[in-house]
């Protein structure tokens, strides 16, 4: 695949939000409307104790991603209630048009004592093209089970031949590099199906994408798109330890393909997206999302510092 980089198409500093800390536009995900593309992302507020909390916002863009038309005036979904799985933020949210509704598959965060967080995947529904969402229940639609014991997150949902498919991640380890250091997570990409988008059947622990970096590779944010009859998955991956500060261990964009939605062949080189030296994506590329609009296929992604300054895009050449 050949991608033409379009640069940092949404710079948060040039289009500040009326809420939040002014930092982070993470995990961009597109909803194509008649006259614009509504791109949802997670931004952060800072709590009195200094901790971040993620909120879902959006930017409306021209359909060629060449101009910003407007930004959300407030988060599209309210904060979760006391003790719920998404009480401490939503990051990311995947959107899917279904009948007259927009389904938002949220990854909710709640804080823990021995590890920083636990996550689960919730469903929220919008009746106004994504301006506002209401939760379907206060609990998650996908959460920890016997062989996916924690950190179920990053749901991406499509309907194929009448069946809902979700690709997502589940945790396989919380482990520390050494005594006195904080536990770090490892997660892998999994798959579930559903007749209604609410009740899901997991493959229960099957890791559907092979590791490139070894068993400690953390895989995140799968997104599946088609080229002809072949399914392609983009995701990001990194080392378990040192990924925040060492560019050599940070997120890169990975790729796998499948002809049957069961077996996936990893082939990162086929995607060929790399950072541009000296640019906003030089040190890190993460949280990829592919969508099509008016015949063109776009890749949205975050760059350095996990998307602190905004997100960029690339266009697939025919």
């Amino acid at each position: 695949m050949r991608w033409t980089k379009l640069g940092l198409v949404f710079d948060l500093r040039a289009h500040p939000l009326a809420f939040g800390s002014g930092d982070f536009a993470q995990s961009p995900q597109a909803l194509v409307l008649d006259d614009r593309v509504r791109i949802f992302f997670s931004t952060r507020s800072r709590e009195p104790d200094g901790q971040y909390l993620s909120h879902v916002a959006f930017v409306d863009m021209r359909k060629d991603l060449g101009a910003v038309l407007g930004v959300a005036q407030r988060p599209v979904i309210a904060a979760g209630d006391l003790g719920t799985f998404d009480e401490h933020g939503i990051f990311p949210m995947n959107v899917l048009r279904h009948d007259d509704l927009v389904y938002g598959y949220t990854t909710g965060w709640s804080r823990r004592v021995s590890v920083p967080v636990e996550t689960g995947i919730g469903l929220a529904v919008s009746r106004d093209d994504g301006l506002t969402f209401e939760r379907f229940g206060s609990g998650p639609v996908l959460s920890a089970t016997l062989n996916e014991p924690f950190l179920v997150a990053d749901g991406f949902v499509r309907t194929i031949d009448g069946l809902f498919h979700m690709w997502y991640i589940f945790g396989t380890a919380w482990s520390a590099a050494g005594a006195g250091t904080a536990p770090e997570r490892v997660y892998k990409i999994g798959h579930a199906t559903s007749a209604d988008g609410i009740h899901w059947n997991k493959e229960e622990g099957r890791r559907i994408v092979a590791d490139r970096l070894g068993p400690e590779e953390a895989q995140a944010l799968p997104c599946v798109f088609d080229r002809g009859a072949r399914r392609h998955m983009v995701f990001c991956y990194r080392e378990q330890i040192g990924f925040r500060t060492d560019p050599g261990r940070g997120y890169r964009i990975g790729h796998a393909w499948s002809d049957d939605l069961v077996d996936w062949t990893r082939d990162d080189a086929m995607l060929s997206i790399a950072g541009t030296p000296g640019e906003w994506d030089a040190e890190m590329q993460c949280y990829p999302h592919v969508f099509t609009c008016e015949g063109a296929t776009y890749l949205l992604y975050n760059g350095n510092a996990f998307g602190r300054f905004g997100f960029g895009a690339a266009r697939l050449e025919p």
């Binding site: 209630d81 006391l82 003790g83 719920t84 799985f85 009480e87 401490h88 709640s110 804080r111 823990r112 004592v113 021995s114 590890v115 636990e118 689960g120 919730g122 469903l123 939760r135 379907f136 229940g137 206060s138 609990g139 998650p140 639609v141 996908l142 959460s143 920890a144 089970t145 016997l146 062989n147 996916e148 014991p149 924690f150 950190l151 945790g171 919380w174 482990s175 520390a176 536990p183 997570r185 609410i198 622990g205």
Partner: protein, 281 residues
Amino acid sequence: MYFSCRPDADANGQYVSYSAYVDLDRSDLFKVRAVADEPILPLGGTGTFDEFGVYPVSVIRAGDEVRAYYAGWTRCVSVPFNTAIGCAVSRDGGRRFERLGQGPILPYTPDEPFVMSGPKVRRFGEMWYLFYIAGRVWKRVEGRAEPVYRIRMATSPDGLTWTKANRDLIPPRIEADEAQASPDVFEAGGRYHMHFCYRYSEGYRSHARGYRIGYAWSTDLRNWTRDDARCGIDVSEEGWDAQMISYPHVFAVDGRTYLAYLGNEVGRGGFGLAALDGGFD
């Protein structure tokens, strides 16, 4: 008899819970034959749902094995804890158990968002039943977060893959936010009998608002008629069970039917027994 116990609190005053057992003499249940010399299951690993507690536990025979369904405890920041239901198996008659997996056997779902606990596993005919509780809201009470939970059930052909009923089995009686726990189902006389415990959502460490034992009956295990007046037991005038009674478990041995339960301070000193006089009616 399986039960749960705690080592001394840590420097922050926090407890972990383990489960263990005591062997009672069949001919005299007040004669202790042996106690477990170690917990039946170690605590879970870092970040797992049962890292800080295995409590309570319900056991069932499955062929040559004994399976334990238990609530695992983790610690949270905005609320003190969360719980989920796990499963472990024993191949030595119930002395030591091994987890079936690192995660819970029953997931959180949209209307069972947290605090899934108090499992009681049963098999009637070909079907497995899990009675348990699920939280519905965390209330703020005098600066503390207190969970409100209700009795729920799930069914399974094998005890491993569960289908939730997704509804409350027992309506609240004393207040809208009544907390219910320990749904213990026993079959006798062509009916199913459920003993459970219930309390007020606030001030429940007092005599007046603390745990009492409730009762409901059913002919189909799905539709239950609550009738606490028929539970057959109340707090005593004085003694170990005068302040509260909770966590009932009904079982039959050699023709007699017993109710095991906790007394004051939710079982700090041990558990007691009552024997059924006559039948359930």
